[in-house]
């Protein structure tokens, strides 16, 4: 399980800049009156930011597939928990 091809400092700095830019974007978008679309945009940006951190800072891009599966399963668990619970609440 090769897990040790770390990224370069350049990658870290670039992804940091991207994260801060996305932070400003999500903050700014919150002030636009878009109704429920606001939440969708905020969430999409959060997912993008999380993906950047996972892929670059946490090196999942170059990690062994097992590690990627483990990380994926964690997030998948949340999705199942929320989706199936909401499927009840929203259809009551």
């Amino acid at each position: 399980m090769k897990s040790h091809s770390l990224a370069s400092p350049r990658t870290y700095v670039i992804s940091w800049c991207a994260l801060l830019a996305l932070l400003l974007l999500t903050l700014g978008s919150a002030y636009l009156p878009l109704g429920s679309l606001n939440t969708a945009i905020n969430l999409t940006i959060s997912v993008t930011q999380a993906a950047i951190v996972l892929l670059f800072s946490m090196h999942l891009r170059s990690a062994h597939p097992t590690l990627r599966i483990v990380a994926g399963i964690g997030f998948f668990g949340i999705v199942i928990l929320i989706a199936l619970s909401l499927s009840d609440v929203l259809t009551r």
Partner: protein, 214 residues
């Protein structure tokens, strides 16, 4: 240099097996952390679905500017942590100690700002079960929002605190030359934990602070 060679525990065959085991172990641990917070996110999602207006009203009472600064601090601390791991891998001991110390400082700054936020909430009578009063409609549901706000931020803050402590210990170890290019697993694993705490905050931020700002 002898100190930077991995001590191999008797159950392992070699350093590679030991490192891979640690790596898989920490990722499984992180997956459990994700699900740990998943409960809070699910509770939030369902309660907000049922009381959308109250959650919007509650969110407007939170301090968005402090939270935004805090988000930036945490993102930056993630950068310094990543650079720290890089320094450890390159064998740059002094750089490693410097980056880790910077990470600790940023983490502490996050907690201090969080403390100011909590204090302001207390002054404004927004602490459920302790001192809560809300003049507008649906005070009970707004209180629920603040209940979730405090539970989520407190448990996240606890994770930041634990991270700060662990990184401090790692920094001290690093200053004593405990790591080198051949062995820096503890730095690496701590970094992964720190990044995950960051990721969780990236979801907490819009959930609690950005609802219905328009």
């Amino acid at each position: 240099m002898a100190s930077t060679i991995a001590p191999i525990a008797p159950q392992f065959d070699d350093a590679v097996q030991q490192r891979d085991a640690s790596n898989l172990g920490i990722w499984i641990f992180l997956a459990t952390e994700i699900l740990f917070f998943g409960v809070l996110f699910a509770a939030y999602a369902i309660t907000r679905t049922q009381h959308a207006a109250a959650f919007a009203a509650g969110s407007r009472l939170t301090d968005l500017s402090l939270a935004t600064v805090n988000t930036a601090l945490l993102l930056t601390s993630s950068l310094t942590m990543a650079l720290g791991v890089y320094a450890a891998q390159s064998g740059a001991r002094r750089a490693l100690v410097r980056w880790l110390s910077l990470t600790v400082i940023l983490g502490v700054a996050f907690l201090v700002i969080k403390g100011f936020e909590y204090h302001a909430d207390y002054v404004e009578h927004l602490v459920p079960a302790v001192d809560f009063s809300y003049p507008g409609a649906q005070a009970g549901e707004v209180e629920l929002f603040f209940y979730l706000y405090f539970v989520i931020t407190a448990i996240h803050g606890l994770h930041v605190f634990i991270g700060v402590v662990v990184i401090s210990v790692i920094a001290v170890m690093a200053s004593r030359n405990a790591f080198g290019p051949a062995y820096f697993t503890p730095v690496d694993l701590t970094g992964l934990y720190w990044h995950l705490v960051d990721i969780i905050w990236l979801f907490v931020y819009p959930m609690l602070y950005l609802v219905s700002r328009s």
